[in-house]
Every structure is written in C-alpha cells, then in structure tokens.
Symmetry: C2
Subunit: 99 residues, 2 copies
C-alpha cells in the first residue's frame, strides 16, 4: 500500500501587477455580449502528488512545497503563492478513468 | 453603491488527457531534488467579477458563467470546468493595494 498526499498550489499575481490575460479575457467576454463582466483575474493551479503520508504532521510538507514554489513554480517578484494540503490518498495499483 | 459578485471558474483537463506542462513540472521538480513528487497536474483559474448582486438567486449567474465557459473559457473537447460563486462584494469608489 503506497500512501500519497495531494497538495494544491495556487499561483496568483501580486496586487498591482498587470494581468493582460485577464484584461483580454474581460474584453472578449464583453464583446461576446457578457456586458456585466467588470474584471477578470487569472491564476494558475498545480496539484502536486507527493509520496508518503503526512502522519499528522503537515508542516514538513508545507515547508517542502514552499521550497518548490520559491525554486520553480512562482516568480517571487510578481507572484504570490498559496499552499493547501488537500487529501491523503492511497495510490491504487491501477488507475482507471473515473468520474 | 455598486454591488458585485465574484465567480471562480476552474478549468482543468479531462481525465485521460495528457498534461505536458504538468509532466515537465514534475520532471523539473525531481531534477531539483524533490524526488518524492509523484505527479503534477495543472489547471487554470479565472476570477470573474460581475456587476450586480445575486439577490439570493445564484442559478442565473451560474447559467451565465456556464455560457462563458462554453463560448470562451474552456475547450469542451479536452477540458472540464467548475464554477464556484465566491462572494458578493461592494465595489469601493477607489481601490488601494491592500493585503
């Protein structure tokens, strides 16, 4: 039985940083007739599946994922990150396409 | 006083659809020494700010945002979307950079 843990990392632009993708999405929605769209902001989400369980201690996992954000996932100059430890999973021997 | 409502739309790949960005992120994390990363999945999030309040009835808003997903935000061939009505906001006359 292989335990795993899922961590969700949300990367968003810091307040005050321009979001051209969001602005263009807003414009496109307005042009499509959705005139009540006032603003659109975009963000990125990573679901990271880690080996091993938390064993009740999530602080080590949080610290590790924070390191991942600093080293790879986020650009600290313009982006903030948010880490949420989602669920402990039991890895199944085979994965079907469910849901 | 202008009311507004924030809707979060999460766009994710359907099960079984390849996620090369996630796979490459996993490889990069492994190379950086995070050897316990088993898988990474990526998704996109839009926060859409709409004019007007829900007035207790969110179904019309949900239907409208679903229309936005179908027409622009998601590719129904490979992507699923999830709509969450987040919060009613009161638009302030001026916006400072808080938080």
């Amino acid at each position: 039985m292989v335990m795993g843990i899922e961590v969700a990392v949300t990367i968003r632009l810091k307040p005050g940083v321009a979001d051209p993708e969001g602005e263009n999405t807003k414009k496109a929605l307005n042009l499509l007739g959705f005139s009540n769209v006032r603003a659109v902001r975009t963000m990125k989400r990573f679901i990271i599946e880690l080996e091993g369980g938390a064993h009740g201690d999530t602080s080590a996992i949080r610290a590790e994922v924070e390191e991942m954000c600093k080293k790879l996932l986020a650009n600290p100059v313009i982006q903030d990150y948010e880490i949420a430890i989602e669920a402990e999973t039991e890895a199944e021997p085979e994965k079907g396409v469910e849901r």
